[in-house]
């Protein structure tokens, strides 16, 4: 079964992240590398992507003539997706365990970030991974 693990955060968390210390960045990066490697080694990894900084996020709606209207203004509380992993596992329990691992990634001061990771199943009926 395929699951998507999503890491999102409001703008102020992104801004705090940008102010981490050098050791914080390096520790977190090392953790994430090891995490991804473990997913690959265990045959669980399907895909993972990071997204660009949310300052360039836009919401698009279509006008009545079909032309897109873009808007870059979001509420303070808006959670911006930072990145995701798609994993292929036996069942939801395994997905939750993996999500818990990445949730514990070290954050500021090396303490576990405890970031909430949203877990959803990917529906194959509506999917075209294009691979």
């Amino acid at each position: 079964m395929k699951f998507i693990l999503m890491m999102s955060a409001p703008k102020e968390n992104w801004d705090s992240f940008a102010k981490w210390s050098k050791e914080d960045f390096e520790r977190n990066a090392a953790f994430m590398r090891a995490f991804s490697q473990e997913l690959r080694d265990s045959g669980t990894f399907v895909a993972s992507e990071g997204l660009a900084w949310p300052n360039e996020a836009r919401v698009v709606r279509a006008r009545s003539d079909g032309e897109p209207i873009t808007d870059g203004v979001f509420p303070e509380s808006k959670e911006f997706l930072g990145g995701y992993w798609i994993i292929d596992v036996e069942g939801p329990e395994q997905a939750y365990r993996i999500a818990a691992l990445v949730s514990a990634a070290p954050g500021s001061g090396g303490k576990p970030g405890n970031i909430p990771i949203e877990v959803r199943q990917v529906l194959s009926a509506f999917s075209d991974p294009g691979l």
Binding site: I4, M6, E49, G50, L51, A52, P54, E56, A57, R58, V59, V60, R61, A62, R63, S64, G66, E67, P68, I69, T70, E79, F80, L81, G83, I86, P92, Y96, R97, A99, A100, L101, V102, S103, A104, P112, N114, I115, P116, I117, E118, V119, R120, Q121, V122, L123, A125, F126, S127, D128, P129, G130, L131
Partner: protein, 130 residues
């Protein structure tokens, strides 16, 4: 340039969608399939995924001992990701235009849903020479 186009909805929005007539749902899906075909034709298609409904969403945190703490309670207003498109386009305007197309997919009675599509650029793993 790779972009991800995010289709989101609140739980209420999804419940409303589930109450559409079969015909309306089929038209909606057909419009999106048609867009996918166009994107494959134009060489811009990378991937699309649909996600299970918000009722199945879980929020996971790692407990101190590593055990997952699951939480299925979200605020009513939470926007859930319903699905996304990944496209490889020449410039941001093209990404917005494609998002606009998704936004015009028809809803009940054939009226465009006009739903908001969030557009985010992908980060690349490659260093760029300075």
């Amino acid at each position: 340039m790779k972009y991800i186009l995010l289709m989101t909805g609140t739980r209420g929005g999804v419940d409303t969608y589930r109450a559409w007539s079969k015909q309306d749902i089929d038209s909606h899906m057909a419009a999106l399939q048609s867009l996918n075909k166009e994107l494959k034709n134009s060489g811009e298609f990378v991937a699309t995924q649909g996600l299970a409904g918000p009722d199945e969403a879980k929020l996971i945190r790692g407990e101190k001992n590593g055990a997952p703490v699951t939480d299925g309670v979200f605020p009513e207003s939470k926007e859930f990701l319903l699905g996304y498109w990944i496209v490889d386009v020449a410039n941001p305007e093209r990404a917005y235009a494609i998002a606009g197309r998704i936004s015009t997919a028809p809803g009940p009675g054939g009226v465009p849903t006009n739903m908001p599509i969030e557009v985010r650029r992908f980060a690349e793993h490659a260093p760029r020479e300075s």
